[in-house]
Amino acid sequence: MEGRTLLGRLSWQLGEVVATRPETARTKSITLDLPGWTGHRAGQHVDVRLTAEDGYRAERSYSIASPPEEAPRVTLTVERLDDGEVSPYLTEELRVGDKLELRGPIGGYFVWEAEIGGPLLLVAGGSGIVPLMAMLRHRDAAAGTVATRLLYSSRALEEMIYRDELNRRMKSSAMLEVLQTLTRAQPPGWTGYSRRIDLQMLREVAWPVEQRPLTFICGPTPFVETAAAILVKLGHEPARLKTERFGPTGEKKHDGE
């Protein structure tokens, strides 16, 4: 479990929103210009801090969706939780020209760089795609040909974040396969998987154990638990499985999308 060390000190910095882009009905990408940004690695996150006029503050973490190659611009992709405190502000209120306070990059473990190699298995549930997307974008930007498979689980096609971009990247990039599963609703003619991630699916999708793939899993807790446990059962080395869990914890409400 080695890792490289980070900068000595993380201070708050102000970025300017230079673009926003709806990804799905509930998610929006926010691109910031951060003059003081010293760079990041794919998979890292930032802490965002909102301050009300009376000084009240709220902080949350958001993964960086953009690759290091785009620094000092940084893109976050935020999913709106209707009863949330911070995500409705970021997805609905914040607009181009506004300033946003954040610090980072944070996290030196759930990271991938082209020179680490592969084969790479990325397993995403819902908005868990965000840090994995940074890895895919970095892979392409670094002219990487690392053999990569992404297994992406969403509830329905309309909830799939970065859908067009993923299709485009798959078409234009050798050695990238994107496999999708829709757990709640499938459009007519759907040829992907139509269920939650299970042993059979991972047996089909995961690289053979002998190839010693490096795996990154990100999504809601029950999703990550299930996927990681199955891969260990299939014989993958625990030390080569990296996980990040975020999003709401409600194990009843969010059934492993």
Binding site: M1, T5, A58, E59, E93, E101, A228, L241, R245
Partner: protein
């Protein structure tokens, strides 16, 4: 740096909570129990589980699962605070005090590093885990501790951010000199006091 800055159109939600004095700065109240870990959940059969105290000690100590359960136990009700900003109030645990475990070795060490299944480590000054401040717990809310929360046993150090409360703990290594653990060498604060917001290096 950004003194006087405020976020246009942001009002915030939870200003008027009678519990706010129990929430360290930057924390919000969580009713679920989020899980955060860096890799898959280890599964160690109880028959091969043990807990050891090693390092700078006169004689290393080791307890099997059964031996560990002959030790005097305590119940602990405390608030816990995760560096990812959630806090959970009045969590209820059962386990063995580190005071009791450490009393069984003689040492001149001043630091300790906890080691775990899966390779995770976290470091602490000995004085942060003695004096009724830390436990090895195996029960949460009256049930055996679930594996995703660190079962069969985890550290519980409620006064520090919860990454210090190492899951799947298997032992303590006593050290004369401090040595950063897993997150501590990846940018997280060496100490981790939630009331001082010691989240990252330099905080």
């Amino acid at each position: 740096m950004s003194e006087g800055f405020f976020s246009r159109g942001f009002h915030g939600r939870r200003r008027t909570s009678d519990l706010s004095e129990r929430l360290p700065p930057g924390q919000y109240l969580e009713r679920d129990f989020p899980v955060l870990s860096a890799g898959p959940t280890p599964q160690t059969p109880l028959a091969s589980w043990d807990f050891s105290i090693v390092g700078e000690v006169d004689q290393p100590k080791r307890w099997s699962w059964d031996a560990f359960h002959t030790l005097p136990r305590e119940t602990i009700t405390r608030d816990i605070h995760c560096v990812t900003k959630w806090s959970k109030l009045d969590t209820y645990w059962e386990g063995v005090s580190l005071d009791l475990l450490l009393a069984q070795v003689a040492t001149a060490a001043e630091y300790v590093i906890a080691f775990c299944d899966g390779g995770y480590t976290t470091n602490l000054p000995l004085e942060e885990v003695t004096g009724r401040k830390a436990w090895i717990v195996d029960t949460y809310e009256g049930e055996p501790l679930a594996s995703e929360h660190g079962g069969p046993a985890r550290l519980l150090i409620p006064h520090l951010y919860f990454w210090k409360s190492a899951k799947w703990v298997r032992g303590l290594r006593l050290l004369e000199k401090d040595e950063p653990g897993f997150w501590e060498s990846l940018g997280y604060n060496n100490h981790g006091d939630p009331w001082k917001e010691e989240r990252y290096w330099g905080d």
